[in-house]
Structure formats: structure tokens, C-alpha cells
Symmetry: C2
Subunit: 187 residues, 2 copies
DNA sequence: GTTCTTTCTTAAACTAGCTTAAGTTTTTTC
DNA sequence: GAAAAAACTTAAGCTAGTTTAAGAAAGAAC
């Protein structure tokens, strides 16, 4: 839980007692590689924080193929937000790519946390704003660059991350076929 | 300003005095069709709320063509969030498509507002979560559907909105050429 | 250390969506 | 209400990225 506490304290203040209260309302779990935190059709009950490891979010498209829309590394929050905030059926799967340690903030406990620790409103406002800002930029890249350019951009921005995932997952995230990715690498 | 007040009161409580304080920290402006609220390279100084009218956000791509990434209708917030929260150079333009009435929450005043009216943290957390949730779904559509399917989906979801904008703007938003959109309509 | 499974590569045929270019229709301006 | 500007259409040729299919390499499991 230490990563999260440190992360929160960068943005708002938390007393010892408050930290304890927070900790007691957040579960920490180990998720094995390939294990699911969420499956399509279920209701997304929690917001997940990656303490250690790597998660992916994907859906199964019309052709039955997995389409990855997001990864989550250490210190990132991940959730199917539409399902989480509306408590409706999820459209996505969330699965561990590596054995991971994940913090689980359940929906009903989050409400309680906001009541007791109002400064968390600010923390989550800032986190969501950042995520949203990142997503605006990601749309820009989607529109602006060809698949090939997007691939080269991704590799140059996150060279270490590329080592950590199989190529077919990168292809899926970039919205191209593994065959085409293979061709791009050859060039 | 009434639309915004009503909108906020759906999510948090505001006393008379608080409403007054809020109003005094938010500017209301008229923006004429084609007028800019933000241009690329400037720092995005405000978060904009559409009381009436229609805005678009776009950037100029490598080929010199305008690429629309978002529209904002009545009761929507719009901003280049990366520029707004980091106070760095904007990558986008924000421009009025129709004569509009827009509320302007400036960056430095927002800080003050959060201090005086902490319940606004909650309001903006909820708004940003919604925007982010919508953007996760939009990525899904981007990955899942062909351009043609995306066009048909958009028309079926927002038939009235389609009437309100020129076709070339819809084409731009969908990431296709106006020529191709014209072909799709014919089918 | 052999077998099974998962991941990656190569290459040829194919298609969704783009480019170019010219013409038509609609909207704006004076 | 005529002229200019902006928006839309049509069609032919083109290209980025897909599909299909088969084989090679690497990792995991026993």
C-alpha cells in the first residue's frame, strides 16, 4: 500500500490516523498472470491501483478478437469507468499480464472514504483530470499519425515497456494485426 | 449562468451566498461563430462551459488539414486539459461553430473556488469521471467499428446534432475524408 | 531434453478508405 | 439578386493495412 500512500501525499495531506482509516478501507490483493479482475457483462465493482505489476483492459470485438484499449503500470489507476460510476454492465475485461499486486477501492467504500476524507475528492479529481488529459492527447495521435508512425512513436516513448509485453499485445493496442506489426519491425 | 448553477446543484449543494460567490468568479461571454477561445501554442487559461451554442476542438495535422477531436454542446465542459492543468502550450484550437454563450472558469480562479467551495471538488471530479468514461467508450468504438459503421452509429445516436454541423466537420470528427463520407451517404 | 503451446514471421491476394481533379450546389456577402 | 466563397458530389486510380495460410522460433510443462 506504500506506493499509493506516497502518491496521494504528493497531492493532498493525510494524517497518521487518516492514513490508517484509508488503509483499512482498501483491499490489497495478489493477481496471478492471466487472472481476471473484471469480465464483460459483470458490474465493475472497484477502481484498481497497480502497486506492482501490469494490467491490461480489452474487449472482444465483433470478429471475436481481443482488442486492448489500455495498459496499467505501477502507480496507475484502471477501471471500466462507465461501468464503475453508473454501476452498469461492463463492456471490458481487466486482466493481469504479469503477477501483480493490486489495490482495490470498492465503489461503496469509495463513497465512505469521500465522506470521511474529503481531501480525497481533490486527489481523485486530479487523477481523473490527468487520465482525461492523456486520453485527449491519445486521440490526437490516433487521428494525426498513421499506424506505422504510431508504432514508432510508441516504441520511442516507452522502449522499456515494449520489452515487457508480447508483440501481439502491442499490435492489438495499436489497432493493427500482428502480421503487419511484424512487417513494420522488419523495415 | 443558470444552466451551470442548475447543473452543479444536481450534484452538490450550494447556498445562496455560495452561488453568488461562484457567479462572481465566473465570466460569461458571447462568442461569435468562427471566433476562437484557444489557439495552438497559447496556454489554455480556462475551462469552458457551454450555456448555449456549439464549440469544436481541433488541431492542424501534418498535412495542414483541420482534425476535429471533440464537439461541445449545451451543458458540456470543454478544454485542452493537458494545457489547462499543466499550464503548458496548447496543442488544440477551440472555436465556436455557432454564436454561443460560454462560461469561463479561469485556472487561477478555479483554485480559489476550490478553496472557498470545497464541494466543487466533488462536482468537477464527477464531471471529469464522466468525460473520461465517455472517452473510454469512444476508444472502444474507434477500435471496434469500421469508419462506415462509426458513421452510421453516430447518425443513429445523434440525428439532431448531425443537422447542426456541416458534413465536412462530421467527416473530420469521424477521421474520414469528406469525399468518402459523401460516398457513404449515397449507399 | 522432448513435447506442446504460444508467439512471431513471410508472402501473396485483397479491400477499405484516400487522392486527385472536375463539376455542382448551397451559403454568404455586398 | 449577382458574384464570390464555401460546401458537397462523382468517379477513376491508388495505397496502407488486412486476410489467409503455412512455417519457424521461442517458452512452458512434464
Amino acid at each position: 500500500m506504500q506506493n499509493l500512500i506516497t502518491h496521494i501525499k504528493k497531492h493532498v495531506t493525510l494524517s497518521e490516523a487518516e492514513t490508517k482509516f484509508l488503509s483499512s478501507n482498501i483491499k490489497s490483493i495478489h493477481v496471478k498472470k492471466k487472472e481476471f479482475l473484471l469480465q464483460e457483462g459483470n458490474i465493475c465493482k472497484a477502481n484498481y491501483f497497480v502497486e506492482k505489476g501490469l494490467l491490461r483492459m480489452f474487449f472482444i470485438n465483433e470478429k471475436g478478437v481481443e482488442q486492448i484499449t489500455q495498459f496499467a503500470l505501477e502507480n496507475w489507476w484502471l477501471s471500466d469507468y462507465m461501468s464503475f460510476i453508473m454501476q452498469t454492465e461492463a463492456k471490458f475485461y481487466i486482466q493481469a499480464i504479469e503477477n501483480s499486486e493490486v489495490l482495490v477501492v470498492e465503489h461503496h467504500k469509495q463513497e465512505e472514504l469521500f465522506k470521511q476524507l474529503p481531501q480525497l475528492e481533490k486527489y481523485f479529481r486530479i487523477m481523473t483530470q490527468r487520465a482525461y488529459a492523456a486520453s485527449q492527447m491519445r486521440f490526437k495521435y490516433f487521428y494525426d499519425y498513421s499506424k506505422e508512425e504510431n508504432y514508432r512513436l510508441f516504441v520511442s516513448l516507452f522502449p522499456k515497456f515494449v520489452q515487457r509485453i508480447p508483440q501481439y499485445m502491442l499490435a492489438s493496442y495499436l489497432g493493427i494485426t500482428p502480421e503487419y506489426l511484424s512487417e513494420l519491425r522488419k523495415r
